[in-house]
């Protein structure tokens, strides 16, 4: 899958989307990238062409099993940030998200968006509180999303880019 990285003049940003096995992180790629490939290591990959010379590489990984197969050091050094998705209504998914945050937070300084997927259910708390997100810190935000809505998924990506902009030159 890394064969796509052929044009070295192209500017590339990388984003990692991490979820538990039953979360909807796959939809973050499938609904935004025209083509998504799946590796034999349960990592999905998609390229999002912003402009001819500017692309985003999106990686989707489930933290169940595929965790230790990803080249964290390689990706993390260049990534714009990462998104942890979990099912708000599933306790096990929340616990996995918590572990992901603990684990990744110890390793990377990159921005993090914690996206609680409520699918199409009503927002559990007042919109004004999470509009567009709750900030934990300069680099960590919490928001709700609907993995069945392309607009909602794009909004999560946009939140991550907003944080990255603050650190760019």
């Amino acid at each position: 899958m890394f064969e796509l990285m052929q044009n070295t003049e192209k500017k590339i940003g990388e984003i990692l989307v991490i979820g538990s096995s039953n979360s909807s992180h796959d939809s973050f790629l499938y609904s935004t990238c025209p083509r998504v490939m799946k590796s034999d290591q349960d990592i999905i990959f998609g390229e999002l062409k912003i402009e001819p010379e500017l692309s985003l590489f999106l990686y989707g990984v489930s933290s169940n099993g595929a965790y230790n197969k990803i080249a964290w050091d390689i990706i993390a050094r260049k990534m714009l940030g990462y998104i942890i998705v979990f099912d708000w209504f599933d306790e096990a998914s929340c616990d996995i998200a918590q572990k992901n945050i603990d684990f990744l937070g110890h390793r990377f300084e990159a921005p993090l968006i914690i996206a609680a997927d409520i699918k199409e259910k009503p927002l559990p708390i007042k919109k004004t509180i999470v509009d567009p997100y709750i900030s934990f810190s300069g680099k960590e935000k919490f928001t709700f999303c609907n993995s069945k809505s392309v607009a909602s998924i794009k909004s999560v990506f946009a939140s991550l880019i907003d944080v990255a902009i603050n650190y760019a030159n």
Partner: protein, 405 residues
């Protein structure tokens, strides 16, 4: 400090019949950057003081409508105005009026005719004193309210003791409300519905979450608590420490628990049964404790015992939506206008200071270590620093891309 018309000036109230001496005084005071209000009768002066709370009052003893002494009595008995410094001016004062005024706590006494410049100096001297203890004086005069997480019950008691204040501390925690009565800085009584005074006080000493409102006022109540403040504070410190030590052994207090019906031959004490009954409808540890109306520490001990026996387990009941911390979030979203407490709840859930442990290590690190690839991450791992390889302009274009429909 605020004034009626100009928020940046101290307000001086002059209560006296109009005349050249008073007019000159008003003029002199105004020239020293004070806002001066001149009222002729005592009744209107009382109304003004209650509504506006001037910083200093200069008053004639001999007033129309109500006398100066009646005015003092009103001001000193009213918690809004009781701490306002008062300068009395009068000609040929009667001794008994003079004594009464001093007994009622006037701050200064000037016989007429006076030099307005002298009065101005004395006013500023009183204002300087006020400025030095401005915050505590405001707090003492008006009462205050806040969150027990910022200022606990022991702190409140100490504050009132130091300032020898009288008043009522109203406390709310969850479903419970209580009051602590303080007279001249000393606790004399406490009230929670269904509790004896000393039990009620012990209960409230361990309320670390909730709200308080302190109302400064004279208290006329029989002393029901015989312990002195020092012993109460000591006890409170010990109880809080015991609570914290016990809470550390349990899951977070916002963890939802549900009860399991004990086996027929399983022996549990009556208090344990009472506590268990609270959790047949799943709720958080703290909610169950609050609803039980038992002594907090005792209730927490019972929860611990029941958890150890396996009669209380974590998790929502099947009929409930599996929403791990929605109740916390809902409660706070409803109670608080700002998102701060919700943010705190979500933050505390996700940003626990725990060692992640047990998770697979990144490939690069595993390759550097021998042995089990599922070893805990090395404590010496350096964080990979963040560097953005796209420019701001490029990121803005990406941002625009995501904003398009």
């Amino acid at each position: 400090m605020p004034g009626p018309n100009n928020k940046n000036k101290y307000v001086v109230l002059v209560i006296d019949s109009p005349g050249p001496e008073v007019n000159q005084l008003v003029k002199n005071l105004a020239e020293t950057n004070l806002e001066v209000v001149h009222i002729e009768d005592g009744q209107k002066a009382c109304e003004f003081c209650e509504a506006n709370r001037p910083h200093v009052i200069i008053t004639e003893l001999d007033l129309p409508v109500i006398s100066g002494v009646q005015l003092f009595r009103f001001l000193k008995n009213n918690f809004i105005t009781s701490q306002i410094p008062i300068i009395v001016t009068t000609k040929e004062p009667k001794l008994e009026d003079r004594i009464k005024s001093m007994e009622m706590g006037i701050d200064d006494y000037i016989e007429k005719p006076y030099f307005p410049e002298e009065v101005v100096v004395r006013v500023h001297s009183l204002l300087n004193e006020t400025r030095n203890t401005e915050k505590s004086r405001w707090i003492i005069n008006h009462g205050f309210k806040g969150d027990l997480e910022e200022m606990n019950v022991l702190d409140l008691i100490k504050t009132m003791e130091l300032s020898r204040t009288s008043g009522i501390i109203y406390l709310t925690r969850g479903y419970m409300e209580g009051q602590i009565f303080v007279n001249n800085g000393s606790i004399i009584d406490a009230f929670i519905d269904g509790f004896e005074p000393e039990q009620a006080l012990t209960h409230m000493l361990t309320w670390l979450k909730g709200t308080f409102w302190v109302s400064i006022q004279q208290i006329e109540r029989t002393r029901m608590i015989n312990e002195n403040n020092s012993k109460i504070l000591s006890k409170g410190t010990r109880l809080i420490q015991q609570w914290k030590d016990l809470a550390r052994l349990l899951p977070p207090l916002n963890t939802s628990l549900k009860a399991i019906t004990p086996a027929k031959d399983e022996q549990i004490s009556h208090p344990e049964k009472q506590m268990l009954d609270r959790y047949y409808e799943p709720k958080t540890i703290m909610q169950g404790i609050e609803e039980s109306k038992m002594d907090n520490l005792h209730a927490l001990e019972l929860v611990r015992s029941l958890l150890q026996k396996g009669l209380l387990i974590k998790g929502a009941a099947p009929h409930q939506v599996k929403d791990p911390f929605a109740q916390i979030v809902f409660d706070h979203a409803q109670k608080k206008e700002s998102g701060e407490s919700t943010y705190n709840q979500i933050t505390s859930y996700f940003k626990r200071d725990q060692d992640p442990g047990g998770l697979p290590q990144p490939v690069a690190e595993r390759n550097n270590q021998a042995g089990d690839p599922h070893n805990n991450p090395s404590p010496h791992v350096q964080k990979i620093p963040y560097r953005v390889f796209l420019s701001k302009q490029e990121l803005k274009r990406v941002r625009e891309f995501f904003s398009k429909k």
